[in-house]
């Protein structure tokens, strides 16, 4: 299990772009797996250390690797003017790029150990907005848990801000589709991964139990920051 000392903890700022290569007429940037801002075991008992380690080091890493491969192939296809290949690559880019860059990067920020505020209800503007739109935090949690449990197959359940309509929404996406695929004006505040890999080792087939417990480590502070930034 990786030991991360508090003193050397790095805050997650997004995917680190560590290399750029000159290919064709311009350089493409590749991505690397961002560090988690907490230990793998720090979210227990809600999410086991085993799940966190595999989810981060295997699944997220695979998305990063495949995304980089797809970007490189895309660059080559564009340089050669191979439009057929460009189109064919879009699926791999959306799946790995959507899954890697957007969804899991948000997810690690959406979680926090209890001793660092995980599970602490939102205050301020977001807290008020939740009460306005869903009646209460409990109402929102119930709705998200129900929609997450009902999702057929793999996907995500989201709390989002519709910037245009200026309201909070709960939505689901399939597979690794980011929330924007449901509307260009949607900003993700909280996303919960309901792919089986996110809970199976600990909760087996009982997805509702995972959804009940994950709220204990949801990082409402991060969601509030995003909300307030978008509301300015």
């Amino acid at each position: 299990m990786a030991i991360r000392s508090l003193a050397s903890r790095r805050t997650l700022t997004g995917l680190k772009e560590t290399s750029s290569r000159l290919l064709g007429l311009r350089s493409i940037q590749t991505f690397t797996l961002p560090d988690l801002p907490y230990d793998y075991s720090a979210l227990e008992p809600a999410i086991s250390g085993e799940i966190m380690q595999i989810h981060h080091q295997k699944h997220h890493q695979a998305y990063v690797t495949n995304y980089n491969n797809a970007l490189e192939q895309l660059d080559q296809a564009v340089s050669k003017g191979d439009a057929s290949a460009v189109v064919k690559l879009q699926s791999a880019i959306k799946f790995n790029g959507g899954g890697c860059h957007v969804n899991h990067s948000i997810f690690w920020k959406n979680l926090a150990p209890v001793k660092e505020g995980g599970g602490e209800p939102p205050k301020g503007a977001l807290g008020g907005a939740i009460d306005t739109h869903f009646g209460s935090l409990e109402g929102l949690v119930k709705k998200m848990s129900a929609e997450g449990a009902a999702l057929q197959g793999s996907g995500w359940v989201w709390l989002g801000l519709d910037k245009e309509l200026k309201k909070l929404v709960v939505d689901t996406t399939a597979n690794q589709d980011p929330l924007v695929t449901k509307g260009g004006s949607l900003v993700p505040l909280v996303g919960i991964d309901v792919w089986e890999h996110a809970y199976y080792l600990q909760y087996k087939n009982v997805r509702p139990e995972y959804l009940k417990n994950v709220w204990k480590v949801i990082n409402w502070k991060y969601a509030s920051e995003v909300y307030e930034k978008e509301c300015k």
């Binding site: 295997k58 699926s91 197959g153 890999h197 080792l201």
Partner: protein
């Protein structure tokens, strides 16, 4: 069904009382019989929890459908189709899957004989190439789904296809008959293989029941003159 000649409207009295509910089929082998390819833990969860849940929810959906039809609530009838397709599909697919597998000592993994064997060679080059194709398509499924080896009754050829979630093979073409289906939902392999779906796909061939696939193929082939 009766036709009102005056209005041109038809009324249908569905015989819903006789609508049969689905039930969980027994596995034809012990839960640990497919080891080491598929662990006992997975087989128990997969059969007793996942498949059972599909059966339960399918029956519930059918029940609601019965009520909706009886009351002429067509909005609900349409809304229920998603539940029926997902859970009914889950039941159909898993019922085939258990038959697609067999313990090694009962022929699991034993290559197919003719006429299926020759048909495979004709369409894919060899059994190894068919397996390779299914493995790569199964590994590439984005999200949850199945990889299938099927018979296209109309075009008289063998195909490899994938379906998403619990969509049965017929959703890719009504003339497609499933011969082998491999579940690539994470629950089918995760406790044993974790994220290594490719490893699961490599190992599952040691317990594939080609005899069942051959029986289905021959049954449908009898109507086709040559293959």
């Amino acid at each position: 069904m009766s036709l009102d000649v005056g209005t041109g409207k038809t009324t249908m009295e569905p015989c819903l009382e006789s609508m049969k509910t689905a039930s969980l089929p027994d596995l034809p082998y012990a839960y640990d019989a497919l080891e080491p390819a598929i662990s006992e833990e997975i087989m128990r969860l997969h059969h007793l929890k996942h498949h059972q849940t599909y059966v339960t929810n399918y029956n519930k959906a059918l029940d609601h459908l019965r009520s909706a039809l009886s009351s002429g609530d067509h909005s609900s009838v349409v809304k229920l189709q998603s539940q029926i397709k997902f859970n009914g599909g889950g039941h159909v697919n898993h019922a085939i899957f258990w038959k697609n597998l067999a313990p090694v000592h009962e022929g699991g993994g034993k290559p197919p004989q003719d006429p299926l064997s020759s048909a495979i060679d004709a369409h894919f080059g060899s059994l190894e190439e068919l397996m390779q194709k299914m493995n790569s398509e199964g590994a590439a499924v984005q999200g949850s789904g199945w990889v299938w080896f099927g018979l296209d009754k109309e075009l008289k050829r063998l195909v490899v296809e994938t379906t998403a979630n619990q969509d049965p093979l017929v959703t890719k073409g009504s003339h497609l008959v499933p011969l082998i289906g491999i579940d690539v939902w994470e629950h089918a392999y995760y406790p044993q293989y974790k994220n290594a779906r490719a490893e699961y796909l490599k190992n599952i061939w040691t317990v594939i029941n080609w005899k069942y696939a051959s029986d289905i193929f021959e049954k449908h082939n009898r109507g086709l003159n040559e293959f």
